[in-house]
Amino acid sequence: MNLLSVRDLHAGYGPIEVLHGVNIEVSKGGATAVLGANGAGKTTLLRAICGMIWRRGTIELDGQPIDKLETADIARRGVAHVPQGRGTFATLSAEENLRLGAIARMRSPKLAQNFALVYEYFPRLYERRNQQAGTLSGGEQQMLAIGRALMLEPKLLVLDEPSFGLAPRIVQEIFGIMRKINREQHVSVLVVEQNANLALEFADRACVLETGTVITHGTPEDMRQNPEVRRAYLGY
């Protein structure tokens, strides 16, 4: 059973079409990785799913169409998007960032529990909760962005290059938490990642995007066996 299914998606910016009929799926409780080179349309795909740019095609969340909804309403349905560059509310404190993540869930009985969970995953955020978020380190901002997304009680977590610009040790830590979120909290994940080895280790499905179309998809094992993918993205 699929949580997210995208069929024949066309999307782009102004007059320029970037995606030419993309199909992609995330299973319930699963994790799908999108691989591809710079400019392949990975970020565009995520932005199209969340209604941040024009798009045409079918996007269904839990069987309900969301391709006509506004970004804020898609978020309220349970799609938490951690954008490229982390989308920090730089002038607000770390805790206020988390409260903003929960703004659509202010009446949720699990509100306090969610704060506790985020601080358990990222103890460093608790230490820095009163600090202006723009002054946090890159790794801390990425943790804050994921924490903010968790506060939405998401069904689907959408991550755009979570490893971008971070030290390998921090990347390991963040992927460890992502795995916990996926396995323990049963949140499905759609992740775009340059680091293909890392992404294939994490996901249960993967696809490769090239100039706006999916050129191949399957299990991580299929990807590792595919000579073309190996040469171009895995480096062996």
Binding site: G87, T88, F89, L100, M106
Partner: protein, 290 residues
Amino acid sequence: MEQFLHQVAAGLATGGVYASLALALVMIYQTTHHVNFAQGELAMCSTYLAWSLVNAGVPYWAAFILTVAISFAVGMGIERVLIRRVERAPVLTVVIVFIAMQFILNSLAGAVFGYTIQLFPSPFPEEPPFGNPYINSHELGVVVVTMVTVGLLWAFFRFTSLGLALRGAAANSESAALCGIRVGSMLMLGWGLAAAIGAVAGMLVAPIVFLDPNMMSGILIYAFAAALLGGIDSPVGAVIGGFLLGVLENLAGAYVIGTELKLTVALITIVAVLVVRPSGLLGRVLVTRV
């Protein structure tokens, strides 16, 4: 000495008005990064509304609250109908829309109410409070009403979810939408709040400068200077800037340059702040690490 204290008190009163209008400017700047040049004329129109209500026999404070409420609604309406259409336009387009709005409102008020100056009532008693010789009741009232307005706003932004959502939308509109905040509604709310605060400023200043369609033109310059002095993105700064400028202007007028050159104080302040400290007293120099 008595004269000096009186000048300071009068300065605080006009400063309160500058502070309120500066606060309205900051409100819109924070949400949209535009400086609304029509803020003064909007406040003037609100004041005419209050004047009409009072003349129709509505008690002062009822007229006050009604005016604030209607101004709030009109502010939201202007954002929805007019400003949203130029949201993505180049900044000069927006500036021209603001200036056009300023002239239209000014002429409209002139056409409807005429250019004769009108008396606007003060809700505060004639005799000075507690029989003190330094400050009259209206001046004290202006300071108190300004402080109450600021306090309410601060509490709204600090303690309510809606206030937090508005700050979020101002800080990063894209991320705000991804959190489920309807950014368009937040911009409307920001405009509504600004118009409501402007209405308060207009009603407070009208008993001092009298009511006419041009009453706000000078005051808007002071308010702009106050907002810059405090830091254009800092509500607290705007209020401090307003009071500082009011006192500074009054003292300079009384002892240094005379009343004719008072407006120069505001203009010099604008230039000085932009040259010496563009972020203002409390404005944030944004620090980001990547």
